[in-house]
């Protein structure tokens, strides 16, 4: 079995209607080649879980522009007027989640937890319809785990086994998301021979990475 495959084959696996965890923060650390290929292949009715929708014509903003997203789970859409327009027009369902809660829900999904307890959102609209749990007299919200059919990850460097390293603020949601997708597809700035990334430097372990996109198509 070879993990490394072409960009088009990697994205061929994703059916219309799939749920996707996509890394990135304002497009930094997003898998831009995978996003471009999703648009090129005309995928639609997607559920996308991502920190924010970047800007029009940038990062996941391209999927918004292409009207490829049916449902969005995110913390911030303030810098993408087109996301706000589609939401207010009822063209896209948007579930706004506090950023730290989003990170923890994905972590819970990827690590087999039944959810997390947080103070964030207690007493606000975020708490509507959710269970609360009292711990030592303090009220916490029960936030449920998030998983998806696919995780689309951007790494700074990979080896041919699929071990991944990240860079600076391009790390963001990628490590947690790499644990929470049923199928994990990663693109990397560089793919190096196995052994070049020392065990202490591996941030996402190859065993969770299913497909690594080759540098060239």
């Amino acid at each position: 079995m070879c993990k490394v495959c072409s960009l088009s084959r990697a994205v061929d696996q994703i059916p219309n209607g799939a749920s996707l965890l996509i890394g990135g923060f304002m497009g930094v650390g997003s898998p831009h080649r995978l996003i471009d290929e999703l648009v090129k292949q005309g995928k639609r009715d997607l559920t996308v879980i991502i920190n924010d929708t970047a800007r029009p014509d940038f990062g996941v903003g391209k999927l918004v522009d292409a009207k490829a997203i049916r449902r969005l789970v995110t913390s911030h859409i303030g810098l993408n007027p087109e996301t706000q327009r589609q939401m207010l027009a009822g063209e896209m369902e948007v579930d706004l989640v506090p950023q730290g809660t989003l990170a923890e829900r994905i972590r819970a999904g990827g690590t087999g937890l039944g959810g997390v307890l947080t103070r964030t959102g207690v007493g606000t609209v975020v708490a509507e319809g959710k269970s609360t749990v009292d711990v030592d007299g303090e009220t916490f919200l029960l936030e449920r785990p998030l998983v998806a059919d696919f995780s689309l990850i951007r790494a700074w460097r990979a080896d041919h086994l699929g071990n991944l390293q990240y860079e600076l603020t391009a790390r963001n949601f990628n490590p947690a998301m790499a644990m929470a997708g049923a199928t994990v597809i990663a693109e990397a700035g560089e793919i190096v021979p196995v052994g070049m990334i020392a065990p202490d430097q591996v941030e996402t372990v190859s065993v969770v990475v299913d497909t690594l996109v080759s540098r060239e198509d």
Binding site: F25, V28, G29, L88, T101, V122, G123, L168, P175
Partner: protein
């Protein structure tokens, strides 16, 4: 000095050497300009770095070092990068000394609303709810009114960011401290009277026998 810089200058006086601080986008970012030379503050950017130099010229050719608005930034020697799970662990876990955030409304209970105007502007809360729920001190830095209308109200009409009471409100007119008893007027800006502040505030303010003037360069 313009309104925003006056507010930023006053907020900066609240920061102490060694503090881990998170500045919101916009006006709060200006606070970094007024930290006294020689006072080391560790600025966090919630997209995954501690040791950011806000407002500095980006000192890296990497497009992987950005602030929370996605713009290139720079860091001090000794800075650290981490993922979003860790980043919000600092925020919720009591490790953040101060967060400075903008505000749309604050009420008599010291509750902040700053993340949406239903049906009009729905940017999303981003990290604001975690910051207000988790930081040791929450400082709201905002203009006192919006187009003449008070923003410090008896009760917020916009959806709350958190039910937690914020520590301090700094505007171009006043410094106000929310307490158990209500909103205490602590300071007025140079050239502003207590009556000016009361007239521009819908909420009840508790006024002491004397109200000092903010120590800012006007």
């Amino acid at each position: 000095m313009d309104t925003k810089n006056l507010i930023a200058q006053r907020v900066a006086q609240e920061l102490k050497a060694g503090d881990l601080v998170n500045l919101g986008i916009g006006l709060p970012t200006l606070v970094a300009n007024y930290v006294p030379a020689g006072t080391q503050i560790f600025f966090q950017s919630e997209n995954g770095v501690i040791g950011m130099k806000p407002l500095d010229i980006p000192n890296t050719s990497s497009d992987s070092l950005t602030d929370a608005g996605g713009m290139p930034t720079s860091v001090i020697p000794g800075a650290a990068a981490f993922d979003s799970v860790a980043s919000f662990g600092f925020i919720r876990g009591g490790h953040l000394a101060v967060t400075v955030l903008g505000g749309l409304q604050v009420d008599e209970a010291g509750q902040l609303a700053n993340w949406m105007v239903p049906g009009k502007m729905v940017p999303g809360m981003g990290g604001a709810m975690d910051l207000v729920s988790g930081a040791k001190r929450v400082i709201v830095a905002m203009t006192h009114t919006a187009k003449g209308a008070p923003k410090i109200l008896k009760a917020c009409t916009l959806p709350l960011t958190s039910v937690r009471r914020v520590a301090l409100i700094v505007t171009e007119m006043a410094v106000i401290e929310p307490t158990e008893d209500g909103l205490m007027l602590r300071e007025v800006a140079p050239g502003v009277t207590v009556d000016d502040v009361l007239a521009a505030t819908e909420a009840r303010l508790i006024v002491g026998e004397s109200t000092p003037t903010m120590a800012v360069a006007a």
